[in-house]
């Protein structure tokens, strides 16, 4: 249990530091690479919550596909590679105030509702384990209870793919 806490706080620190660098970095490519660190840390938190399949999907889809798409976007729009002070709005402090007020409200609500030290997670958060992980449980749920949303998501992905090609091709 102590090991889980060490794991949580180490990756939480990495996530928060890298997330702040994503929104403050003056170099677009550095921001993209810090985003990779955030996504990897979030994937580690998924493993801590016993969601191995979601963690693997996060690595494959986000770090594998979405990041390549972002780097292509950076290169194709010929954003200045290297230092660039123009990336942040001159009224950036309005965003800071909004974010801090929002965090204050959210933190107050969460601590008020869930407390500082109560509501511990179950020691083993896995459900009806098959071969040591609950991937089989996820697939059973996706292909029975959530079959219709799953099909809708599939059609949405196809439509988005066709739409992206139609938008981006030269004609």
């Amino acid at each position: 249990m102590v090991a889980q806490n060490i794991f949580f706080y180490a990756f939480a620190a990495m996530i928060v530091f890298s997330a702040v660098r994503v929104v403050t970095s003056t170099n677009v490519v550095h921001a993209a690479l810090y985003l990779v660190a955030v996504l990897a840390g979030v994937s580690a938190q998924y493993i801590l919550l016993a969601a191995e399949f979601v963690a693997a999907t996060q690595v494959l889809v986000y770090i594998g596909a979405v990041m390549v798409l972002f780097l292509f976007g950076i290169m194709l729009t010929r954003t200045r590679i290297g230092q660039d002070q123009e990336l942040t709005h001159k009224h950036w402090w309005t965003g800071l105030v909004t974010a801090l007020v929002l965090f204050g409200v959210m933190a107050y609500a969460l601590i008020d509702e869930w407390g500082w030290s109560d509501h511990p997670l179950p020691a083993d958060t896995r459900l009806s384990v098959v071969n040591g992980s609950n991937t089989a449980t996820v697939s059973d749920a996706v292909f029975s209870t959530y079959l219709l949303p799953f099909e809708a998501i599939s059609v949405l992905l196809l439509a988005a793919l066709v739409g992206a090609i139609v938008l981006a091709r030269k004609d």
Binding site: N5, V23, Q45, V54, A160
Partner: protein, 102 residues
Amino acid sequence: MDDLLLNQFLLLGAVLFCTGVYGVIARRNSVLVLMSIELILNSVNINLLAFGAIHGSIAGAVFALFIIAVAAAEVGVGLAIVLLIYRNRRSVDLDDLAQMKG
């Protein structure tokens, strides 16, 4: 304080969410705004999985997968739109896209 608490994950999600909101408001480059939206979507996923874990339900993991799929679709279309804006206006600066301003 030995067990993992639900609130640890929820507060981490809140920090990530607010960082993303700051990025969406403060950044001028549209690609960086899309990156900040990814931060927001990831914080939502952490919350979903934490609630799924405490309620002993698999629905959290299923909806996290759905959100990952929708985020992939969103980035694809979003970057295509950014590319189109760049092609038409030679800039991805959001301050330059003000022709609707009255």
